[in-house]
């Protein structure tokens, strides 16, 4: 209890008013930061896509159209909130919150600053108390991220079902199938990171990557690529946005939603984009770790974190502007037949390397033997599959 609920392990034990205030302050800061970054992200995405498509984008509300999102948000609040006749009322109302709440909870375990250079573990002092620049650092941080991403499926699934209309239902069935299949690849690439870092806590994972030993190259790039692809599918963003393929499904699972409830879905979608970028930065790019050039170290942590985060936010926007949507069977083939076996095989090689390092074996020979062994197994399976296909074709010809 104390570990998970005392939102900061360093504060467990002597809980006084200052501790409560610090936790409250951190909650408010994390929530505001996420909301502001979502406002900025919506504006940035529209503006960047405008530039990429050689048009101007929003430029009326405020300087450079910066207040466009605020204006849109206000409009959502003013609109009539319609409830379809055939909708399942209770679930229809509940579904938007089921997507928005997990999106926020994930952000609570992301370290957004702190000095990780040398032996520092991102600890800062505030009001005479040591604390971390993240809302909570539970010992199961990464598992919490995975749990919340699997809970987020409910919101989309139930929104589509409770609308009582066929296009939302189709959209939500697609969405849940997609999210459930890509969660496997996502989880397997996270296991590679956990294996290298030796801990499930996000703070420990970041600390293990200080002094440039980023998981990006320590785990050999493959888990990173798999995580980015699976993460994009998990977010239902282009090129994997079959959930709201407007040419086929009108608007997908949120077709029947309007006003504030639609705004919640919209908010959750962009919150998820920001948190997924933050997770990638935390797991693979060392989070806030980076060189301290001058002045206070914790400030530089936030600067490095923001720079890395912005890179991935732009990547997601770039994906959307560049890549055409994949077909549904291609999506499933990519997930089940390529990403999951690849992630599993790579995990085996990494585990072999870890065992070799513990036993003091040659660090070059072990992965090589692993690759050769896996290639042999893969070749045998491919041969067996081809033989089975040929036999079946033969059966058909002979007419047995």
């Amino acid at each position: 209890m104390a570990q998970l609920l005392a939102l900061d392990p360093l504060l467990a034990g002597d809980v006084d008013l200052a501790v409560v205030l610090i936790v409250l302050l951190k909650t408010v800061i994390a929530f505001t930061l996420l909301l502001v970054s979502v406002l900025f992200m919506v504006w940035f995405e529209r503006k960047a896509i405008g530039d990429l498509q050689n048009r101007i984008g929003p430029n009326r509300a405020g300087p450079f159209g910066l207040f466009q999102t605020v204006a849109d948000g206000l409009k959502f609040f003013m609109k009539e909130d319609s409830l379809p006749d055939r909708a399942d009322r209770r679930i229809f109302v509940l579904a938007p919150y089921l997507t928005a709440v997990p999106a926020f909870l994930v952000f609570a375990v992301i370290p957004i600053g702190g000095d990780f250079s040398g032996d520092n573990r991102g600890v800062i002092r505030i009001f005479g108390h040591d604390t971390l620049m993240q809302l909570a650092d539970p010992p199961i941080g990464v598992l919490l991220i995975l749990a919340m991403s699997s809970v987020a499926v409910y919101g989309i699934m139930l929104a589509g079902w409770s609308s009582g209309s066929k296009y939302p239902l189709l959209g939500s069935v697609r969405a849940s199938a997609q999210m459930v299949s890509y969660e496997a690849a996502l989880g397997l690439s996270v296991v590679a990171v956990v294996l290298t870092a030796g801990s499930l806590g996000t703070n420990a994972i970041v600390a293990s990557q200080s002094t440039w030993s980023w998981n990006l190259w320590v785990t050999g790039l493959v888990p990173f690529v798999i995580f980015v692809i699976a993460g994009t599918a998990e977010l239902n963003r282009p090129p994997f946005d079959l959930v709201e393929a407007e040419q086929e499904l009108v608007g997908g699972f949120n077709t029947e939603y309007s006003a504030f409830r639609f705004a919640l879905f919209f908010l959750a979608e962009f919150m998820n984009t920001v948190t997924m970028s933050a997770i990638i930065v935390t797991l693979f790019l060392g989070g806030p770790s980076g060189p301290v050039l001058f002045g206070p170290g914790w400030l530089w942590g936030t600067v490095w974190f923001s720079v890395k985060l912005f890179g991935f936010l732009f990547m997601f926007v770039w994906f959307r502007a560049t890549l055409p949507r994949v077909r549904y069977d291609q999506l499933m083939d990519l997930g089940w037949k390529i990403l999951i076996p690849l992630a599993l095989g790579w995990l085996l090689i990494l585990a072999g390397r870890q065992v070799g390092a513990d036993a003091g074996w040659n660090p070059v020979v072990v992965p090589l033997v692993g690759v050769v062994g896996l290639a042999a197994v893969f070749g045998m399976i491919a041969l067996a599959l081809r033989a089975a296909t040929r036999l079946r074709a033969l059966d058909e010809e002979v007419g047995v």
């Binding site: 749990a147 699997s150 079902w161």
Partner: protein
Amino acid sequence: MVEVVVFAIAAVVILGGAVGVIFSRNTVHAALSLVATLFGIAVLFVAQEANFLAAVQVIVYAGAIVVLFLFVIMLLGVDRDEDIDAEPLVGQRPAAYALGVLMAAGLVAVVTTSTVTGVPSFAARWVRDGDDVSQIGRLLFTDYVFAMEITSLLLVIAVVGAVIMARTRPGPQIDADEVVPVLPGDHVDHDDEADEADADDEVDAS
């Protein structure tokens, strides 16, 4: 104090969810009540400092298994309000009541007559305040490795079985208008000449 409050809230959520599972007329509502129960149990795990079990509870049960339940409910279209007055099995209702009362009586008897000794169990060597993830991992891969391997074998068998059952046989494409036998050996009514001819062709081809 904190533990009591957490337990009380979690208990209300768990029992409320369990009652909802039984009394919901709509199967989707029942499945969602089940999710509430599973979340409450996860909170209780956290209260016992079994953080890993809590996370696994949410990921596996709330995140995967109930999602599959909902999938089946939505795809098979059984999500209408069920008519629970019809009784497909005669006498099942009194039998269920009797068994329920018996179970409750047994539970009350056990709780009232037994005392809590506080002796740790023999099976699990659990170091309190230790890292629960590494402890579970070490036990799984040393003492209980046989049970774990057997379980994974069972899962592999289940997957292979599902693939074999789901495999479509190569053959002539089924026409949407054509009447097809539900089970092998079923008699199929062909009501016009064209269908007869088609059927004859198929016999020839095979």
